[in-house]
Symmetry: C2
């Protein structure tokens, strides 16, 4: 048996299976076998599941049909939307418990209310506030595998809430934290976190271990396996996350607290964000509070802004640039145009589309010098023009033309020797 | 407007819409309009809904797929079955609240746990114990229409339970009782309760008013609109039930406490139960406790027995007969055969299939004489042989050959002039 090669592990494991990993009876049984295998090694096992396959889309479509009926076309009340969506995971937990039972083991399922996963009342994007873990611990001690509905919680009044995009990962990590789990296993349809998107860099390599901070940067750059929020939570409570493939054995990527020897690796991964638009507001009066006003108005319109750059000119005005996803352009244009009118006659806005951002991330940058120069030189040698540069302590990003994006990712990936040796 | 012909009604109304009345967005909107119409007349309105169309069947099929996967074929744990099935009504309540919202009114949905509909822990056939009506009353006072998931409750631990067959009607009547509703409106796909099954008696007539006791007898005889349990509960708390068509205006059938003038009507309705088998245990020792033993063993096998007849013979033995639904024969035969072996060598069991039962029901029997004779004579005139007779205070039943069933129903229906005059 392949699983014998893994070291025996005695502790408390929280596993999470996403929607594609529980899309039908067959996959639910495969996930059940994973949970049972961990149990049979002597662990206590908690399993978090998402809604099956396209169930959530189906429920959203039902709501759309009802709300657009007869031409009324009102948006559904958010409380009712969450009441509806919460059923998706509730179906999966019951079926998963049945599958484990069918395989001869004991399991018990819990929706968000049944384990007291309390959130605020921000329906459709609620935040976890606390979990009453007594019931889970009692059932674990009785030898049962506990199945928990991801993505959902309840308000103090008992109304269902949902946790927004990536909510099941938030459930995974929150449970890991309150149960003081030894590991959170995030089962997905990929082998782990890669040094770059393998669809672009054919020689991208699976990363064995990565720090929370590096993963936070990569998640912010669009690595879709884990959302920033879940990683922040894992870092705060120091819960190791193991991202692995639901259909294969073998280790995936461990996301863990930083250790000194991680700094030996200068760069852990590279990432590409495509389809960006840069917005530049020129001739902004250089006085306190203007930037806060601009970005406050944009945030109020629910638009996420990236890579803010401000230069002060000689004439006591400033140019403020930032990038947004190209898809947000229609939403942000009226907001920025209004701000420009309010700033006065000399201010104006320039929109520059068809951009991309290539980035490298690594805690080793803190101690190694010359990382930025190596990146810039590699791009220059390949005649890729760098339009803007932004950095954090462990990340360097370059804004480039969109058409150079995939090539630039491969170039920096090679420059830091991230790929598999051929 | 047609609804103007109904008298204005100011009070608290609980409405219930079954699965076919909420099967799609269009029907949900029609049901929503019913609720809004009642609200606009000045009533407080609570709506109980079932799962949409064939949702429950779909969920049961999912459970079957999971439990029979890879040939394991275990029955699902009942707690998990209820966790699964509870999602059916939860989807409908959210969509119904959205539909009312889309039509410009305020609504809020509640699953079984959110209104504290407490039951025992008899999963798949739980009994209502209490309802915490404070949340509903608060929302009603704020002018909202409250939507409640039928068929489900929770245990004190917060586990979902379901109320078994006809459970949504139990929810309707229980809510009507705790909220002291002025009426429970049961919306169905029929116009009301009929003097006989209109598929058999073409001249069957809708009954305007019927007493709880008469309805109990008819429900026990298989009139499928309301289950015995819901009627018992309505009688106990004196909640009037109005059974009416979900797609038509106009009055249906009111089920109410008995009033003196109901006795003017000798017989309110007639019913036919098809496909019965009679079991006769002959030569049973005539001593105390034997009947209790026989029917105790049968009840333990979860088989419902009907029409028990016992005759004492000259030789201090008795013959005990009873009827069961023909579909239960395979289950009851081993139970009865074992009882016969235990009773000793002279006892034996005889099974007589292909029987039917025709009955007439009416509180007027208490004061009118000659009802039984009129029924027997009508059957005799039509050459229908009566094999057994059983009576209650307000019911007379005759066991006859199955092939005579429909004819016999029409004969007694005509004999008591129950149908529409031509």
């Amino acid at each position: 048996m392949r699983s014998d090669v893994n070291p025996p592990f005695m502790g408390l494991i929280v596993q999470k299976f996403g929607g594609t990993s529980v899309a039908d009876a067959d996959r639910i049984h495969r996930a059940a076998r994973r949970a049972i295998a961990a149990k049979e090694k002597g662990n206590q096992v908690v399993v978090v599941v998402s809604a099956m396959g396209d169930t959530t889309d189906h429920l959203i479509e039902l709501a759309r049909q009802v709300c657009s009926h007869g031409g009324c076309d009102k948006s559904p009340p958010k409380r009712e939307m969450d009441q509806l969506l919460a059923t998706g995971e509730q179906v999966t937990i019951a079926l998963m418990a049945m599958a484990i039972h069918a395989q001869g083991h004991e399991a018990i399922s819990f929706h968000g209310g049944q384990i007291g996963l309390m959130t605020d009342a921000a329906f459709t994007k609620a935040r976890v506030q606390s979990i009453n873990h007594h019931r889970i611990l009692k059932e674990l001690e009785e030898g049962k595998i506990c199945i928990v509905a991801g993505f959902q919680g309840v308000t103090p009044e008992g109304d269902f809430t949902t946790l927004g995009r990536g909510g099941s990962n938030a459930t995974l990590v929150a449970l890991g934290a309150v149960l003081k789990a030894d590991v959170c296993e995030n089962y997905t349809d990929v082998d782990g976190i890669f040094t770059a998107d393998p669809r672009i860099c054919k020689n991208a390599r699976k990363i064995d271990r990565i720090s929370y901070d590096e993963m936070l940067e990569l998640a912010g750059l669009g690595a879709s396996v884990l959302q920033t929020r879940a990683v922040e939570f894992a870092k705060k409570y120091d819960v190791p996350i193991h991202v692995r493939h639901s259909q294969h054995e073998g280790e995936g990527t461990w996301i863990v607290a930083e250790t000194p020897n991680m700094e030996h690796i200068v760069v852990s991964g590279a990432a590409l964000k495509k389809d960006l638009t840069r917005v530049t507001v020129k001739n902004v009066p250089d006085r306190p509070g203007i930037a806060a006003k601009i970005f406050g108005d944009i945030a109020a319109a629910n638009i996420v802004v990236d890579d803010i750059i401000q230069n002060v000119m000689d004439d006591n005005t400033a140019n403020i640039s930032f990038t947004v996803e190209h898809g947000d352009l229609d939403d942000i244009r009226p907001v920025v145009d209004r701000i420009v009118r309010e700033l006065g006659s000399s201010a104006r806005a320039i929109y520059h589309g068809d951009l991309a951002k290539v980035s490298v991330v690594g805690v080793g940058m803190r101690v190694h010098t010359g990382v930025a120069q190596r990146m810039f030189k590699a791009l220059a040698d390949a005649k890729v023009n760098i339009q803007n540069i932004t950095t954090s302590e462990i990340k360097i990003s370059c804004i480039i033309d969109k058409e150079n994006g995939p090539k630039a990712l491969q170039i920096v990936h090679d420059a830091f020797e991230l790929g598999n040796t051929k």
